[in-house]
Point group: C2
Chain length 148, copies 2
Amino acid sequence: MQGLIDLMAETSTQNPERIAEVLADHGVRPTSQRETVYSSLLQKRDHPTADEVFARVREKAPTISLATVYNCLDVLVQHNLVKAVNFERAPTQYCANLAPHAHFHDEEGRTLDIDMPAGMFEQLRGLLPQNFDVKDIEVNFHGRAPKS
Amino acid sequence: MQGLIDLMAETSTQNPERIAEVLADHGVRPTSQRETVYSSLLQKRDHPTADEVFARVREKAPTISLATVYNCLDVLVQHNLVKAVNFERAPTQYCANLAPHAHFHDEEGRTLDIDMPAGMFEQLRGLLPQNFDVKDIEVNFHGRAPKS
DNA sequence: GTTGCGAATTAGAATTATTCTAATTGGGTG
DNA sequence: CACCCAATTAGAATAATTCTAATTCGCAAC
């Protein structure tokens, strides 16, 4: 069921009226700013920073403030609709890809999603004693990706 | 050979006169500040932040500046004597453990080293196409560790 | 329909880790 | 001993993020 909802979330890019629904289903009160921010993340899947999201949503919502963008992103992350990705000391990037995956950070600044087979996370989990409560596993590659 | 040097680096906590040697072997000009900073990291393996290192080394070197601590840490990281560990937006932590390993970030702020079998990094590497040039793989667990 | 309420939004100030700048010091070499 | 370059220093600057306090919004009760 949750899987279905997530799938909807990821495929509802072209269904603006569904976005409010998805937010509500995840316990997020759907305000117009939250819808705009979430919709922007769904439409361009390139791991934007808060500033970049701010620039993008301004076109649709010219009065939105940067603080609100931060607030909306935090709420979305808190409710597992969006993932926050941190790399070194660079600004946090945001990602609407809900499937478990790793990130590759190119030396030129690009960030790519890397699919992870489900078993890999379990193997990693297996490195820890059973009495550890693991909430999240993060895998980051760093290097140089082929030019195209 | 490199492995032997690393082992020396890790076991020379009690051999202050060896620290300069280890730095030099890694291409780092051994200044007294660098020796103090590196020695501090070797002695207390608890992933301190730059500020914490600053506080610790002040006892031995009361005139050292925070900028120098940052400089020394950067040099040590650049020359692979120390690893910089970033987690979420928290201040960078530093780690003199040279063996490949992952990190567990406790919700109370503790950071633990987690041993990784060599094969695990290779498996992770295998998720990427061959034409990716991988410089580093970072694995971070987040959750709650047993109280003691 | 108006009023009231709590949550959300806003603008701008504040915070904080880190980096930068410019001046000083220091250690090794000629 | 003098020189030179790298390292160090103090403090200012930067930049991402968070905080604050005031305003606005949307809905529910009346």
